[in-house]
Amino acid sequence: MEWEVVIGLEIHAQLATQSKIFSGASTAYGADANTQACAVDLGLPGVLPVFNEEALRMAVKFGLAIDAEIGKKSVFDRKNYFYPDLPKGYQTTQLHHPIVGIGHIDIELDDGTTKRINVTRAHLEEDAGKSVHEGFDGMSGIDLNRAGTPLIEIVSEPEMRSAKEAAAYFRKMHSIVTYLGICDGDLSQGSMRCDCNVSLRPKGQEEFGTRTEIKNVNSFRNVERAIEAEIARQMDILEDGGSIVQETRLYDADKNETRAMRSKEVANDYRYFPCPDLLPVIIDDNYIEAVRSTLPELPDAKRARFVKDHGLSTVDAAVLASDRSLADYFETVAHAANDYKLAANWVQGDVSAALNRLEIGIAQLPVSAEQLGRILQLIKDNTLNNGGAKEVFNALLEGKGDDTAASVDALVDSLGLKQVSDTGAIEAIVAQVLADNPKLVEGYLNTPEDKRAKAIGPFIGLTRKAAKGVNPQVVMDVLKKKLSELG
């Protein structure tokens, strides 16, 4: 039978606030256990949560970025369950009146087309703490530093039809929240996590099949692999005439398989009710418009502009626009050089290679955008040739020079890379090279006319060796002229 895959994602993104959603404790990552868990986070009696205005602003910003309805009146609810990393016995979340209503984003498919994926809703909630099961002599250790960290949970419609589409959606959301600056997007620290709802149905059938939910997948690659593995598992069962059990599963990346989480004997009943400690959150059009005015250019718009206004290929534009800090770096370089294509080549070539080799992000690159911009300026005015430009770039990578654009000029001088374009000077160098290598000259003169273009290579090498920074085009012209004079 032919099956259709149905996927919906729930993405949790940690909002990049300084303090927690309902308390003044720090949200900084990596602190000693429980040093950032205050009385509110611990759920001690008598405390009162107070909502963080920045968490609200960030959630609204997100809603506007995905063209969603903004909840002018949103309400916090209590979701009740018992688990040691949730000391209050309930999670404060939003059930019926979320801050963000129906919206949408577009994802790019492999064939170059785009597909619209609708977002059902996005709501604010608090994160729970962390349990550590090893190293406590049969006990579990609880660290509540993360408890109360603001999250936005983004729920998609079940509109994705392949693992690839799901991964593209997750990537796009990552790109959007990092562009907005509302989430640091650091997947390794759990700043974004994803629950994947997967089901199959016979192609053509309208009714959804029974779904399973894969919890807490935390990388782009694992979203794709986990869903692929789950699709294969479900298909095996269905093809054998079995049926799918609705359950929560975990993805084991080492074994590349999903497995059922131990199911609770009693079905959870979260007994939601409006939180009496928090009043309804009311915002008006003025507030919404003020937030809208702070929206940056978003990845889709930036990509389109790179193509339309600056003639980049759609592939180059997509890569450069996907990450905001990369895009900002690229545009600073392109502005300084006044050449988007040259900047695109460098950022995707030498810069990307350096980032991969050094395993760093663009923010840690020792070569600033201003410096690379200056290098490209010097290429464009013929002060540097391509080889010289790479040499300066590598010197900066190794930490030579300071971090100013002026140090590029200083390095060009100290490394003797300034390109010699003066024909008179180059003629003298070429004459010397020819005089020093009579055998090579003889060989060249014996080369048939149609093969001489290739035979000129060694002379170019020798000339450039004799005088670093000679303009290769001028060298070529002078060599051709001098050699033709010889016969």
Binding site: T17, V50, E53, I142
Partner: protein, 95 residues
Amino acid sequence: MALDQNQVRDIAELARLQIDETQLDDYQKNLSNILDLVDQLAAADTANVEPLAHPLDAVQRLRADQVSESNQREHFQQIAPATSEGYYLVPRVVE
């Protein structure tokens, strides 16, 4: 609305309350009575009434996003039954 005894057991389980089997009858009766009382609310005409999220006619106030709490771990952990290396210890839980 009448609860049966299994529902009473489920509610106790969800609330992590231990109840004595001999008291099941009482709980069943009392809880059902409370629900009957609540059911009277259903008789009210609420066609033109907006759902109320909070009994106070007030709006949530917001706080500035500033870290105002310092580390008081030692103080808080004095009342914890068991701690180690800064962690609160609980009976082992593994999903």
